[in-house]
């Protein structure tokens, strides 16, 4: 079997057994990239020479017994809002088109420490704002299953690259569903961990109180293995949490007996595509057959999730993105017109439409006289949404939910109506507002042949339960392939 078609752990095992060398693996993926990239555009930055150099180093390390991790030598794609010293970090924006950080993200240090090979930086919606990867300054990424369709977003490049076998696994970031939704559109497995589990140091912030880096892979085992590498307490991130359990691979066993699974009624009502709904109920049946107890329940406050999310995320973004001003790094306007003018032209020329829309929205909800009416109210709603999930988890181990209302839309369809696009985040954003972990996995395809993904949401710090349930489903059904 062709090496690139294997899972990350399978490739890692072959490397450890010396059945294949790291440079051979990297070469094979670069060969695939050459074939696919012109149609998919999953990457913003690629550097074969550098990847090969690193591959040789890691191979040497493996032979010396330095790198023994099951993922050592396996090539990874990194979302382009995660800082890397070797590659530019553009955030999909003209603003950072030529920006190379002189520091790197905590997750990159973690990956390097186990001998990961970074293959390139993946495309994304500009500053992670978008649900389709169409707002990138570097062009649209296309869905590998049908290039007329979007891969989802904002981690569309990371998900498409894994689906197209251009890398063995990838990292994405999830502020309102940006890992789980594109994973579902691309037929891969993606996870957003509990807020505070993976360090945000070196992740270019969009909505700081919601952002989390997470793994994307071809199956549940890969995702568990990657999470084990990147999850850690980091004293450089004040919101990082010291956990007791970091051994997520231990949860990789088949067993959902006695597990209580809840489906929020509001998630399977109007607005949900029939084929997605059917797939969700089929999944529920599989779980019931395997011994779980599945029932529908009322989850309060669902309808407030979208306005709450867009208020909080935009407010934080308006402040987080203020630093891109042409003074210190990144794009600066050619037009010379004093300090104010330099700020105005730089930001007008450097940011795209969607980013400007959210900066304006965020500035508005924080402005004097509106702070209490919008931002403070949204914070209160956020706390209430968390409470309503707390109640749900006193009854259920896991919540079963769609990852998106439909399968991947056609390119160009979503940006025509941004409000409609925002509403598409309904099933994913609550997990961010409540800080909960969620995993999206493929469960089948619709009549157009596009992947359908379903999401499992767990209580805080219960990634292991999610991994166990997802792994069980995957083992029983073959993972919707």
């Amino acid at each position: 079997m062709e090496i690139i078609k294997l899972s990350a752990l399978e490739i890692g095992e072959k490397i450890q057994k010396r059945e294949v060398s790291v440079p051979e693996v990297v070469k094979a993926f670069y060969h695939q990239i050459e074939q696919k990239e012109k149609d998919i555009n999953a990457f913003i930055t690629l550097d074969e020479e550098q990847a090969m150099k690193r591959a040789a180093q890691v191979q040497e390390g493996i032979e010396k017994g330095i790198y023994t991790h099951p993922l050592a030598g396996v090539p990874a794609g990194i979302k382009d809002n995660i800082c890397t010293k070797e590659f530019k970090t553009t955030c999909g924006s003209k603003m950072l088109e030529n920006f190379t950080p002189f520091y790197e993200a905590n997750v990159i240090e973690s990956l390097k420490s186990i001998g990961a090979v970074l293959i390139g930086k993946t495309n994304m919606d500009e500053f992670a704002m978008g649900s389709t990867t169409e707002t990138s300054y570097f062009g649209v990424t296309k869905n590998p299953h049908n290039t007329d369709h979007v891969p989802g977003g904002s981690s569309g490049g990371s998900c498409a690259a894994v689906a197209a076998k251009e890398c063995a696994y990838s990292l994405g970031s999830d502020t309102g569903g940006s890992i789980r939704q594109p994973s579902s559109f691309c037929g891969v497995v993606g996870m957003k961990p509990t807020y505070g589990t993976v360090s945000r140091y070196g992740l270019v912030a969009y909505g700081s109180s919601l952002d989390q880096i997470g793994p994307i892979g071809t199956n549940v085992s890969d995702v568990a293995a990657i999470l084990e590498v990147i999850a850690s307490y980091d004293k450089k991130d004040s919101t990082s949490i010291q956990r007791k359990d970091y051994q997520f691979m231990k949860a990789l066993h088949e067993d959902v007996k006695g597990m209580r699974i809840g489906i929020p009624k509001g998630y399977v009502g109007d607005g949900l595509d029939d084929e997605v709904k059917e797939a969700l109920y089929n999944m529920a049946k599989t779980y019931e057959k395997a011994g779980a107890k599945v029932e529908e329940f009322d989850l309060d406050l669902v309808k407030y999730a979208i306005p709450t999310y867009y208020t909080v995320a935009s407010a934080e973004a308006s402040s987080n993105l203020a630093r891109f001003d042409g003074v210190k790094y990144g794009y600066r306007t050619e037009k010379s017109s004093g300090l104010e003018g330099m700020y105005n032209h730089t930001r007008t020329e450097g940011f795209g439409q969607e980013v400007k829309r959210r900066i304006m929205l965020g500035s508005y909800v924080l402005s004097s006289g509106y702070y209490e009416a919008y931002y403070l109210k949204a914070l209160k709603a956020k706390a209430l949404i968390k409470k309503s999930f707390d109640e749900a988890f006193s009854t259920y181990d896991i919540i079963l939910a769609p990852a998106a209302p439909t399968t991947a839309p056609a390119i160009g369809e979503s940006l025509k109506d941004p409000l409609k696009m925002y509403l598409g985040d309904i099933y994913t954003i609550s997990a961010n507002l409540a800080g909960l972990p969620g995993i999206s996995m493929p469960v089948g395809r619709d009549t157009k042949g596009l992947p359908i993904g379903i999401q499992l949401i767990g209580n805080c710090f219960e990634e292991s339960k999610l991994i166990q349930a997802a792994y069980t489903y995957e083992s029983l059904t073959g993972g919707g392939k």
């Binding site: 809002n81 995660i82 800082c83 970090t89 955030c91 950072l96 920006f99 950080p101 002189f102 520091y103 993200a105 945000r200 140091y201 070196g202 992740l203 270019v204 912030a205 909505g207 700081s208 109180s209 004293k235 450089k236 991130d237 004040s238 919101t239 407010a315 934080e316 308006s318 402040s319 203020a322 630093r323 891109f324 001003d325 003074v327 210190k328 790094y329 300090l339 700020y343 500035s363 924080l366 402005s367 004097s368 702070y371 931002y375």
Partner: protein
């Protein structure tokens, strides 16, 4: 006419804390280093960098809060103050608006004839900005981020002050307290203490406050006094002309001794404050407060009392020595070398203060070591040198921190107590001044003084005066 108005003043005082590292990263806070050498992704506002609170900043802030009788906020938060300016690398400043570290305190100031309590509205922690350097030749502006992220506290008083004298008394008391705590050196000139004055005037007896202005760029107590008088007069003139005072921020020009408007309320920025999502709430336990309370150093009041009781100093001495922490420290350290408190006090209060005044220096600028002062005083006590010589040697100690023992030795300043040699000199003087000898014998004490003076003159001041007196009396 002016007597019909009274002045209402509130102060906003920024103080740079004496931590060795910055408030949200581990960069050094050392002053006067090469530009942009004490920086990192965090204090340069690089994308993806995150702040981590320096606990020492909280310790200092709590110490100041407790010393100024504030309530400590047990669930304190940091907020972002959003505004665009190149010295502010993130284009927001991490500060505290909604839940500042301390609130509702006061300090007591001593005026000529009374004491007055000045309320402290709140005190919060925040990060300092970088510095803009304008290059006139290149027509460009450059930014130095070394100061970016240096910890500050801002202490906001209640509008309880009513005169320049009260303002200076408040500032001196506040500065002294903070210096005693070791939380800052509070130098106005270097900017480690910065004062903004909020001032309004109102008709005498009126309950309604007038419209206030905020005065910035005040770099000395003198400038503060001057600016208060000028601004009070300006506002009264505006009102007497039947016009309204405009709420605005004004900048003091110390050379022209006048101020001009920087921006009015209409142009005032909307800072869009909101809780910083990168920092978790700061929860302060009772144990933490206790620990700070217990480790508070001896403050001025207690020190003064102890000087009077333990060292038997007059209240006047104790008062002056404790006016600055530095002077009190020098006093106590000198005592380690010379155990005569009153003598040490005299040397500090007379000679040291004289030289400070002559050189326009503060006690904080003193560079000599207490050891050298102690040795010098000892030399005067055992008759090794006389007072005139001692004063000269002290100047050397003050300016160059020389070792007085070695210096006296090398320069042959030691008093001559060779009785035989002195006798010879005195005999000669008596022969040359028969008139004075006559006068003395006739009962004129003054003549004796003259003879002592003549002896010292011949000896170039190096004679042991006690011995000279003794020999003179013997012979006469």
């Amino acid at each position: 006419m002016r007597d019909q108005f009274e002045t209402v003043i509130g102060l906003e005082v920024h103080v740079e804390l004496a931590t060795s590292s910055k408030i949200f990263c581990s960069c050094s806070t050392k002053f006067g280093q090469k530009v942009n050498t004490q920086v990192c992704p965090v204090c340069m506002g690089m994308p993806g960098a995150l702040p981590v609170l320096n606990k020492k900043v909280v310790d200092y802030a709590m110490a100041i809060g407790l010393a100024t009788n504030c309530e400590i906020t047990k669930n304190s938060r940091f907020d972002r103050k959003n505004y665009f300016y190149p010295d502010n690398p993130q284009n927001y400043q991490i500060s505290q608006l909604y839940f500042p570290i301390a609130r509702n305190g006061y300090i007591e100031i001593e005026l000529e004839d009374q004491k007055k309590r000045i309320g402290i509205h709140e005190m919060h922690m925040e990060e300092d900005a970088g510095k803009l350097i304008h290059d006139e030749w290149e027509d460009a502006s450059l930014v130095d981020y070394n100061r970016s992220g240096v910890p500050l506290v801002e202490i906001v008083s209640e509008p309880d002050l009513s005169s320049p004298e009260e303002v200076v008394a408040y500032l001196e008391t506040l500065r002294r307290t903070i210096q005693y705590l070791g939380a800052s050196d509070c130098k106005l000139q270097e900017g480690s203490m910065r004062v903004d004055v909020n001032l309004s005037v109102k008709k005498l007896g009126s309950k309604e406050l007038g419209t206030r202005t905020e005065m910035k760029n005040l770099n000395s107590f003198k400038a503060i006094k001057r600016a208060i008088i000028e601004e009070r007069n300006r506002q009264i003139e505006v009102l007497e002309d039947g016009k309204q005072v405009v709420q605005e921020t004004r900048r003091w020009d110390d050379n022209k001794e006048t101020s001009y408007a920087m921006r009015s309320k209409e142009e005032a920025q909307d800072y869009r404050y909101f809780p910083d999502p990168d920092l978790v709430p700061l929860l302060i336990s009772d144990e933490w407060i206790d620990q700070i309370q217990k480790s508070q150093p001896e403050l001025r009041g207690d020190k003064k009392k102890r000087y009077i009781e333990e060292y038997k100093l007059p209240e006047y001495d104790a008062d002056i020595l404790t006016q600055s922490k530095k002077m009190a420290d020098i006093f106590e350290e000198t005592l380690q070398w010379c155990r005569q408190p009153k003598k040490v006090s005299n040397w500090l209060m007379v000679e040291t203060f004289r030289l400070l005044k002559e050189n326009n220096m503060e006690p904080e600028d003193i560079r000599f070591s207490p050891e050298n002062l102690g040795k010098l005083i000892n030399l005067t006590l055992d008759g090794g040198i006389n007072n005139t010589v001692a004063k000269e040697v002290f100047e050397e100690v003050f300016y160059k921190n020389i070792d007085p023992e070695a210096y006296v030795q090398e320069n042959g300043l030691k008093a001559i107590d060779d009785t035989e040699a002195l006798k010879e000199v005195i005999q000669k003087i008596l022969q040359d001044n028969p008139k004075s000898v006559e006068d003395f014998k006739g009962g004129k004490e003054k003549a004796f003084g003259f003879l002592v003076g003549q002896t010292m003159k011949v000896m170039k001041g190096k004679a042991n005066p006690t011995l000279v007196n003794q020999i003179l009396r013997e012979i006469l």
